[in-house]
Subunit: 354 residues, 4 copies
Amino acid sequence: IRLRGYGIEIGVLQTGPMNAITDVQGVKVGHTTLIQGDDIRTGVTAILPHSGNLFQEKVPAAIYIGNGFGKLAGYTQVKELGNIETPIVLTNTLSVPRAADALITYTLMQPENENVRSVNPIVGETNDGYLNDIRKRVVTEKDVLNAIAQASDGPVEEGNCGAGTGTSCFGYKGGIGTSSRVIPEKLGGYTVGVLVQTNFGGIFKLNGIPVAKELDNYSRMLKYGSDGSCMIVIITDAPLDSRNLERLAKRAMLGLGRTGGIASNGSGDYVIAISTAEENRIPYESDSPILYQNFLRNNNTTPLFLAAIEATEEAILNSLFAAEDMIGVDNHERKALPKEEILELIENYRMLGH
Amino acid sequence: IRLRGYGIEIGVLQTGPMNAITDVQGVKVGHTTLIQGDDIRTGVTAILPHSGNLFQEKVPAAIYIGNGFGKLAGYTQVKELGNIETPIVLTNTLSVPRAADALITYTLMQPENENVRSVNPIVGETNDGYLNDIRKRVVTEKDVLNAIAQASDGPVEEGNCGAGTGTSCFGYKGGIGTSSRVIPEKLGGYTVGVLVQTNFGGIFKLNGIPVAKELDNYSRMLKYGSDGSCMIVIITDAPLDSRNLERLAKRAMLGLGRTGGIASNGSGDYVIAISTAEENRIPYESDSPILYQNFLRNNNTTPLFLAAIEATEEAILNSLFAAEDMIGVDNHERKALPKEEILELIENYRMLGH
Amino acid sequence: IRLRGYGIEIGVLQTGPMNAITDVQGVKVGHTTLIQGDDIRTGVTAILPHSGNLFQEKVPAAIYIGNGFGKLAGYTQVKELGNIETPIVLTNTLSVPRAADALITYTLMQPENENVRSVNPIVGETNDGYLNDIRKRVVTEKDVLNAIAQASDGPVEEGNCGAGTGTSCFGYKGGIGTSSRVIPEKLGGYTVGVLVQTNFGGIFKLNGIPVAKELDNYSRMLKYGSDGSCMIVIITDAPLDSRNLERLAKRAMLGLGRTGGIASNGSGDYVIAISTAEENRIPYESDSPILYQNFLRNNNTTPLFLAAIEATEEAILNSLFAAEDMIGVDNHERKALPKEEILELIENYRMLGH
Amino acid sequence: IRLRGYGIEIGVLQTGPMNAITDVQGVKVGHTTLIQGDDIRTGVTAILPHSGNLFQEKVPAAIYIGNGFGKLAGYTQVKELGNIETPIVLTNTLSVPRAADALITYTLMQPENENVRSVNPIVGETNDGYLNDIRKRVVTEKDVLNAIAQASDGPVEEGNCGAGTGTSCFGYKGGIGTSSRVIPEKLGGYTVGVLVQTNFGGIFKLNGIPVAKELDNYSRMLKYGSDGSCMIVIITDAPLDSRNLERLAKRAMLGLGRTGGIASNGSGDYVIAISTAEENRIPYESDSPILYQNFLRNNNTTPLFLAAIEATEEAILNSLFAAEDMIGVDNHERKALPKEEILELIENYRMLGH
């Protein structure tokens, strides 16, 4: 049962049919989940903005750095050129280089890319070292290629899977979560989808209810280490250029803030935003020196901003609702969100139905 | 009665004695409130980080651009040099240049500054054009110098005063608000004070309660114009360098997000952060080429981040609780927050006392 | 006689017909020169990207901060929204607010702008305080409006005029300079025009010849104060979006570097870049939520980058060749470039004709 | 024979004893050069700011993005935290991930780092795909670890070695180059060392002499592909904080500009700047929440800026003077700089000795 299954509604906008990033036409998600022995709890999540050859048909994109204590690969070229040319891969902190290398392999071996000699792989990460023996770096090229190969549209698996297999959030078991919003037809009818890999701390709130305070479940000393982080991926079919995609990405942090996230010193919080609008694809090679593009005016971005905030908040909550108890390396344990206790709390707050 | 007078507590950290930016030792605030005839509803708020000659003893500082659709003066030099050398002045959008000019006058005429030929005035703004005939640009040099001259420590006037005289927030009357937090002694015992000029929109939440949704009081079309904006000023006695002050400033936007703010396209949202730690003052002239400074390590910033988030959220709410009904230009009217209705709502949500 | 009149050619690209920023169709430049008594040596230069109502028809733009120790007005909104909505005004450091205020006046009083309540004035500056009693702030609103009113296409006055009236460069008299480049038809045939206000230091080179070293005319102690700065304005008819305009702006600093400029600590070096391509104008209001735009692909920007570098280098040199001896406040004197001595040096270097 | 062996002096400041980045006390450089069969022409260069455990004793650092069309690893954390915690490794574009992975291995296996679970490897690159079969990705972990192990102080090998083995510059054979400057004792006596990996284009100038123009050796169509780039590493013993290190890094691009570089669209130009001042090392763990640091004041940075410009210009020229003819993949050939022709040209320009 996802969050909405309990009658809890986040925000004021409508969700898409699946309430998932895959509500954006053409988007696919795939996971490789690695649970091995007592100590390996990690994985890979791949997100494909479209099903074509991404290198040959790049997509407008931007990355916003909420807090840069992280190892995301690919930032500077996206900033400079305003586009992304590979799938997006999420994994654990110490596996970023191998995942990036796998994305190069993937790109070089695609048909039409025989002469490509420069690739900008995009890999995000959070640190699952509490449950996973991260120093072993078990993620292989094959794991990454599998996640891409298995990517599909349709509902997205959430919780302890893919890059969220071993993550923690607000002291509970975190993981992968997703959500979407569709803005009213009069405002363009666009869809905004979000996928998160949650591994951060703060003072947890559920739809405004101060759960952490009520359950007295937060660190008084606020000594968050370097093992935090949240990766947020936003995809929309709205025709935004890279400048407005960066603005959209920035809003996701407000959604994170609503869950009680504080972007602590050690939390590497990054937001990747992509537009899949077909008219704005960027061909690798072209006879024309000019790109004919149709971009939404600055004035019309606000509904999308709200959509990104709401979908981020809900995706984070979905990750927590989907995650399950896990024991990992050194017998470290993360409990799932105590849903019954929390639902009772919500009942007391009489917020069900709102 | 301020928010806490109703038993409503925001966050988990302690406030300072006055729950105001002036809880940070040495900080002074002054207002010039301009209410004239039917059409002038504007003013000036001045914030002094310390009472000495700010040009001769600069303070480490940073400005974070939450959303840059605004006219703040002074950004680029603060970014480059990491310090601020004048009081901070807030006013209305079209009066920024005259306020900046007044700050130059102020600086040039201070003793010791006889040879100063370069000044970087810091002026923030929001657009009070709904209640104020902003095109008249009535703010004068004298109004600015008065705000500085009247600046005092002690409690800070909130609501319809100074630069908040004519502002609007979430469809209600906005204004000036302030709040503070003191972090536990074991974490340094530092104070973080925040002052806001609220003039923005979104889907209002009060301590997590979805007031706008419950009262059905928000724009379905999300067509926020260019008249939004929120100015946020953070001052702390914690010894932060400009890099960590920028990180601190960034967190204030999470506090704004918690009130339901969405940083709409037209909202110029800026956060100015300053450290008043005496050991880190930056002398204009010095015999030594070296600055001996004591800065907090990156690892120890998190409690301050939380403090900034909580104090920003509460300062915004304080501005709304303090503001009163106002009629202005063209008979435009802004109602104060319907406090009784809202307190009843809160009662229903049983959140009083939390 | 301008630089090319002596047979000195900078770079490899062709200049436009006038070798001036006004070679870009529709661009106009106007100066107000203020030379009063013994102590006033300052002025205003206005640059109009097109002759329509700039607020109603904004132009794609970007500002690159070479070194942010300066007081330029308008940066953050240009960064956020990617456009400029007023003429560009250059003046002295302490007159920026009054010039910005005048641009607001100008914008508010234009037909069609009766309801405008938010304007982002763009004002750049350098510090002419060595020759000008800058603390007097003599520049008035009328001076700014005059510069705009007198703006014309055709050749641009250079040297001791407008905002360059009292400036210094490499220890000589600086001022206003301009230059342009036209890229080959096969590469698009676009024009890139540059105008500079030169007031900076370093180790002067003329077309590669180490003039400062040969003439032993540079500061051994490199103690440049806060009075430096160079303002650079680039306008092109190439259809660049704001992202690529920022990249173009960045290249101008390479041109400054070629003259021996070093962007010293106290030098506020800013580059404003604008595209006047008519198909990409941004209407203030529009029935359509979509902008249909034609932008040059990233791959096709390089020739424009070279053009910006060459035109910046030559514009700086033109400012020095045009400037004349000046005595100002406190009997301070700046000598013009010793042209005969330098031409002899060039002759020795046998570089004439190259 | 290096450039100065021909009597050519760049700039006005003194070089260090070796005119190399290793003139900065404690800095070590190591190369792994990979020349295999007909098609492999690549390698690795490692730069160690000090010989201790860099993770345990981090160094203040900044990275400036001259042009972000590149794949440098590690940018965002350096920007956020202001320090570097691994050696710097340079290699080819498609080998960045494997080099980054090797740096993680290196860091994890160092004594004292047994519990480290988060590492930010710094890897720069240029694209040697013209001479090297870059798609083969032959660089191994061992190659990287060897470069680090072999790193030594003393003179630095230049030209066709390490990461410069297969690079091209201005149409000639490029490679590794280095240079240094020592600023006058009265200004602090600090050393600034630069190392470059040159692989970029433009219109070549040697100490101001327009070599490319004279020899008619440049592309009329300016169609530089994505295979350009220049990596620049600056190390200084001056006590600069990360903010002023970023400013220092920015100046290196002016030095690149003086050689005729234009930062073409496809050129990934990055500048990494580090301070080795011992008093400002940043311990990984510490009992004190405060860092006691001694930083140079903003006002005293200018001589260092000039030093960075001059050393970058000379390091680039040194790379060209040291590089030798090379034939690589697909029988592609790069000729070394035609030194005799050029020296004759210089003779004609009578610039020897200046």
